[in-house]
């Protein structure tokens, strides 16, 4: 098979060669548990503290405020359930928005069933939360505001610092899900005003199965894992030493490479947008055009469905063709029966959500590979549109899209 072009880095990234190398000695040779006093243990402990320092440095935090977890899903569950429980006496109202990741929404739905009241604020057509709406939603019993830093699907970067100021003013705990931003764009817990912040290793060239939760000193939170006295008794369990060393090394590398990555990838991103707008008819760009992750491109193709685009790209038939891996908000791959709740929250009609394509780049991607992928996407779109019983060229039903006005697809089709 020809070398694939992997453009699904928002789902997961390749563990960097340097990261793997850094992890290696902690798997087989230095396998001691950091909880012990003998040298094999104190070396592991030192390695963990070095990683903590490195990760803290990446987000402007103090090392002692970093708590290692198994990933952002755990961090998000811990943040939400932990704060809710610790502050239950104070109040049971939490503010979020409709375009959050499932690892935020599902813990909140769970709390809702247990009697908490959750405000799921709408987002605008670009996916932005309105800080004024958050201000307006605050009640005396509000104990937590949780916002994603940048959306994993459409890349939109939220006005987090503004929300942080509101939270500070009202003295409400503020959680930021930074799974998509840490290691990719500058994240500073203080300027964001975050009291809690979730991090995932495998989203920035670190290993899978490790993440962290930043907990500002003084935040009241109940543990999710009770047990041994690891992580100052806030997160029990034998440390995943190789994983923690890996996320530390990924953080170290990210600090050095971030500026170059941002410049390169935002250039590629804008190039892709320009290319598809010029070369593919009847598309709609999803997410904010500029307040957006450098590595994220998302658009919908009218008249076709995402899984078939994705499959066609990943299993090309032409001799010598290279597979291209992207993702889609189609229901067919969501694990649920609904298309992406995020695209629906933008106001997109279901058919355009089904027909969405997300291209998420990695720092090593080249212009040549991107060009190859774009040609492949255009060809697949052409082929599937020829096969489509509903596509009519130039219909442009929803290209000029205005969420407030909605998209009157039924009338147009």
């Amino acid at each position: 098979m020809q070398k694939a072009i992997f453009l699904d880095n928002a789902a997961t990234t390749r563990t960097g060669a340097g990261v793997v190398k850094a992890m290696q000695p902690w798997l087989e040779q230095n396998f001691g548990s950091p909880a012990t006093l003998y040298s094999l243990g104190s070396q592991a402990k030192q390695a963990i503290e070095d990683a903590r320092q490195s990760l803290a440095g990446l987000i402007g935090a103090e090392a002692k405020d970093i708590f290692f977890t198994s990933g952002a899903t755990e961090s998000n569950n811990w943040a939400i359930k932990g704060v809710a429980e610790a502050l239950a006496e104070k109040g049971r109202h939490i503010i979020t928005n409709q375009a959050e990741h499932h690892s935020i929404l599902m813990p909140l739905r769970y709390l809702e069933k247990k009697g908490w009241d959750i405000s799921y604020l709408p987002v605008d057509g670009d996916g932005l939360v309105d800080p004024d709406a958050i201000s307006a939603a605050i009640r005396p019993d509000t104990v937590l505001i949780t916002t994603v830093h940048a959306n994993h699907e459409i890349g939109t970067i939220q006005p987090v610092a503004e929300i942080g100021r509101i939270a500070a003013e009202k003295k409400i705990a503020f959680h930021v899900n930074a799974a998509q931003t840490v290691g990719h764009i500058p994240v500073d817990v203080n300027s964001l005003g975050a009291h809690l912040l979730s991090i995932s290793g495998h989203k920035f060239y670190g290993p899978k199965g490790v993440g962290a939760l930043y907990l500002k000193r003084g935040v009241r939170i109940t543990p999710l894992f009770h047990g041994g006295s690891q992580e100052k008794k806030r997160r029990a369990g034998t440390h995943n030493v190789p994983g923690i060393v890996g996320i530390g090394e990924a953080a170290r590398i990210a600090r050095n490479s971030m500026d170059a990555e941002i410049e390169k990838l935002s250039g590629l991103r804008d190039y892709i947008f320009a290319w598809v707008e010029k070369n593919i008819e009847d598309i709609r760009i999803n997410g904010h055009r500029t307040r957006r992750l450098p590595n994220n491109v998302n658009f919908s193709l009218e008249g076709i469905e995402g899984e078939s685009i994705m499959l066609s790209l990943s299993y090309p038939t032409a001799e010598g063709a290279r597979p291209v891996f992207i993702s889609t908000g189609s229901a067919c791959v969501s694990g649920n029966l609904e298309p992406s709740h995020i695209l629906l929250a933008l106001g997109l009609p279901a058919e355009l959500a089904h027909g969405s394509v997300r291209i998420s780049m990695a720092k090593e991607d080249t212009r040549e590979d991107i060009d190859y992928a774009l040609e492949a996407i255009a060809a697949v779109a052409e082929r599937l549109r020829n096969m489509s019983p509903v596509y009519k060229r130039g219909d442009k039903k929803c290209t000029a899209f205005d969420k407030s006005a909605g998209c009157d697809c039924e009338a147009a089709s």
């Binding site: 469905e305 078939s308 066609s312 058919e351 489509s388 019983p389 596509y391």
Partner: protein
């Protein structure tokens, strides 16, 4: 996730397109659900047989593969035989479908039945 046969029909769909001046047309599905199929048939009136059949499909891999398979199964069959082609028959012919795809994206046999009905209603029997 998909069998080789499904991938083959997805990648190399048989009978894609529209029959010219069709004798019957069947459309099923809904773009909001992500699947729409349109099956057109040409019928040999004397023999009551499907002379030609084509599909156009919007949908996932399973939707396209089942559409393609249904046209292969139907082609040359008598109408009453073609009506017997169930979802299960199509799925089996493809070497099985993932459970969640069994119903939501396996509408092609319904499309075929609709096309046959359409033909019958037009020809008054």
């Amino acid at each position: 996730m998909y069998s080789e046969k499904v991938m083959d029909h997805f990648q190399n769909p048989r009978n894609m397109g529209e029959v010219e001046n069709p004798d019957g047309v069947g459309e099923v599905g809904n773009p909001q659900c992500g699947d729409v199929m349109r099956i057109t048939i040409k019928v040999d009136e004397k023999e009551d047989r499907i002379e030609d059949v084509k599909f156009k499909t919007l949908g996932c891999g399973a939707a396209i593969a089942t559409s393609s398979m249904v046209t292969e199964l139907a082609k040359g069959k008598r109408l009453d035989e073609a009506e017997e082609i169930s979802k299960k028959v199509v799925a089996d012919a493809l070497g099985g479908l993932p459970p969640q795809k069994m119903h939501c994206s396996n509408l092609a046999s319904d499309g075929l039945k609709k096309a046959i009905e359409d033909y019958r209603s037009r020809h008054g029997n």
